[in-house]
């Protein structure tokens, strides 16, 4: 089973977010909680459903990732672009893949 993280878009501003180990929705994939076994994935899915029902986030998905040299990398291109932002130089200040990794 591929490692998985829970992602969504924040209701109020639509910004892409990922669920961290403390149950907070954070703006960096690198801070996401990683589910490495089926029970953890089930827990993620339940958390996602609850957050959607609670009107915190929309478009909730569990996505496949891999960890390369301590950096989380989604398997799908689409999710990589979501995590890193547009690949074009549209505006200053966009951060790439960086930051700590939490796992279970």
């Amino acid at each position: 089973m591929a490692d998985k993280v829970l992602t969504a878009n924040r209701l109020s501003d639509g910004i892409s977010v990922w669920l961290d180990a403390s149950g907070n929705w954070v703006e960096s994939l690198q801070d996401a909680f990683i589910a490495r076994h089926a029970e953890a994935v089930t827990a993620l899915e339940a958390t996602g459903k609850a957050a959607f029902a609670d009107n915190k986030v929309v478009d909730v998905n569990v996505i496949d990732i891999e960890e390369v040299a301590g950096v989380l990398r989604p398997l799908r291109m689409r999710e990589r672009v979501r995590a890193e932002g547009p690949t074009i130089d549209y505006a200053p200040g966009y951060k790439g893949l960086s930051g700590p990794v939490h796992a279970a």
């Binding site: 501003d13 009107n55 291109m77 672009v81 979501r82 074009i88 549209y90």
Partner: protein
């Protein structure tokens, strides 16, 4: 241009208030997402990859400087300092907060703009020739009819829940600059033998996963019957269009499956019932709307001719810009200016807030306050005196928008692609940037001549790849991007759908492939006046297949 009357103001203000209430209830949790989503879409608010996206309607691509300044203000205050002009003559903002959208719509309403019907299965923004009212080859200005259709179709109760979205385009010239044959309904304004105005009516064109060229179902529809006949088409579609399969729900599929003749007969039958009803357009109403679109007072400015000759001689870059980006106006002392939003290596269709403000200033000073957005993602100043071209050019140079490439290989259409769009499978913008950079040399572009490259990041074809002389379609294959190349497409009066030339190319190989295609064309054209499209139509795909795939062309196809 059209100005809102009291009814319009009240109507749009009412919609803003209604949406503000809906957003408030959504954010408080009173409204669930399933209930809210169709409501936000009716007001142009999408959810994309990174954030919400707001699509604002620019009716038939026409706006004034006051409205352009508002678009700049919204980019600055509510977004990240830029906006993206689209192939539907609209503008999209990529980063608005949902909580801000009611305020944005209120600000838009203050300059007579809105985002109604920029999404959903309804009649979308009616598009028109971006040179409308100014072009020398025009029978009549298509915009009054586009405006009449806009008013008729706005929250039309019968046509707000169609099987699928519905797009109408109008041109008033023989040279079709509105791509009417790839729209659900295409209207070609013309005059009959008696000098009366009417329309040739095309139905069932479209791009997307099943590209189709529209069929002409009426040679001449009198202008007074515009709404009754269009209603008849809509009713036939609404009744018989498929609702069981989203991918077969557009009218093009109905036309294809029913047959144009049978469908035309169904429309005529419906039309008979509607012809002499309240839908018949009174001449006075047509005149009233037409008067909004009167030409500005174009006084004779004959001094421009001599000035222009001198300026061109003194500045070759200015001369190149005039040659490429200025077209003859119906008044000989004026020109129609294309302000290219395709700087070399830039993002097609993007403009920053300061560029939008500057365009507004220039339009006010030199272009009678009139601005257009073209479906090719450029800005048009339709009425500029030749005598003012040099000053306008200097202004454009100062904001980085004086690229002399209208209609050339770097004047690329590209959808937002996977950099923004939730539907996309591959990126469009970086590809367009790389191609633009490779071919950016002015002499090389001039040598290649007219060549339209159009790029879509998915099969929905927002980047019009099917009608690109060279079309690029991004797909996802084994988790990576791959680009399929089509050749020979065209979206003008001789519309054709491009043919897939062979197997796709990885992102890093696409620009080389384009170069191979271009070099093949340069090697086989009869002379420089034979543009790429004409050469392709003469020789067919084989020389290009041979050049791209060598002996493996068969396998490639």
């Amino acid at each position: 241009m059209y100005r809102y009357d009291e009814f319009d103001h009240t109507f749009v203000a009412g919609r803003v208030a209604q949406f503000r209430d809906q957003v408030t209830r959504r954010l408080s949790g009173e409204l669930a997402e399933d209930a809210f989503k169709p409501l936000r879409l009716m007001n142009g608010v999408y959810l994309q990859l990174h954030a919400y996206m707001l699509r604002v309607a620019i009716p038939y691509g026409t706006l004034n400087s006051n409205q352009m300044r508002m678009l700049a203000h919204i980019a600055r205050k509510y977004d990240r300092g830029y906006g993206h002009f689209t192939t539907r003559q609209n503008i999209q903002y990529n980063w608005p907060k949902l909580s801000d959208t009611p305020d944005i719509l209120a600000e838009l309403a203050s300059v007579e703009m809105h985002a109604i019907q920029t999404s959903g299965n309804c009649i979308r923004n009616v598009t028109a020739d971006h040179f409308a009212g100014a072009a020398a080859d025009e029978v009549a200005d298509p915009r009054p009819y586009a405006e009449i259709l806009r008013q008729w179709s706005s929250v039309h109760p019968e046509f707000s829940f169609l099987p699928r979205k519905f797009k109408i385009a109008v041109t008033g010239a023989e040279r079709d600059r509105a791509a009417i044959q790839v729209h659900d309904i295409g209207l070609h304004l013309k005059k009959n033998d008696k000098g009366e105005i009417g329309f040739a009516v095309y139905v069932g064109g479209g791009q997307g996963r099943t590209p189709m060229i529209a069929k002409k179902i009426r040679d001449f529809l009198p202008e007074e019957d515009l709404l009754s006949y269009t209603t008849a088409v809509m009713r036939v579609y609404n009744l018989h269009g498929r609702r069981d399969n989203k991918y077969k729900a557009r009218i093009k599929i109905l036309v294809h499956e029913t047959g144009a003749e049978v469908l035309a007969a169904q429309v005529e039958q419906e039309f008979l019932q509607l012809k002499n009803t309240e839908l018949k357009l009174p001449e006075a109403d047509i005149q009233a709307i037409t008067s909004y679109f009167a030409l500005p007072p174009l006084t004779d400015r004959p001094e421009g001719w001599a000035n222009l000759a001198g300026w061109k001689k003194a500045d070759p870059e200015f001369a190149r810009w005039v040659q490429q980006n200025v077209q003859p106006h119906k008044h000989p002392d004026y020109g129609m200016v294309t302000v290219s939003l395709k700087p070399i290596g830039g993002i097609p269709g993007d403009a920053s807030d300061s560029q939008m403000d500057a365009i507004a200033d220039l339009a006010q000073e030199y272009a009678f306050d009139e601005i257009r957005i073209s479906h090719e993602q450029n800005i048009i100043l339709p009425h500029v005196a030749l005598a003012d071209l040099e000053a306008l050019y200097r202004g454009l140079v100062s904001i980085g928008l004086a690229t002399a490439n209208a209609g050339l290989i770097t004047d690329i259409i590209a959808c937002p692609g996977l950099d923004y769009c939730a539907l996309a499978n591959a990126r469009s913008i970086p590809l367009s940037q790389e191609i633009s950079t490779r071919f950016g040399n002015p002499e090389r572009q001039a040598e290649i001549g007219e060549l339209k490259i159009k790029i879509s990041g998915c099969i929905n074809a927002c980047g019009h790849h099917h009608v690109g002389h060279i079309g690029l379609l991004g797909v996802e294959k084994k988790g990576a991007e791959l680009y399929q190349i089509t050749l020979g497409g065209s979206g003008d009066e001789n519309t054709s759908i491009g043919e897939i030339i062979g197997r796709g190319f990885e992102p890093e190989k696409v620009t080389d492939a384009i170069e191979t295609i271009v070099n093949t064309y340069l090697g086989l054209r009869q002379d420089p006046s034979e543009i790429f499209l004409d050469a392709y139509r003469r020789v067919g795909p084989q020389p290009f297949k041979d050049a791209l795939y060598g002996g493996n062309a068969q396998e490639a196809a």
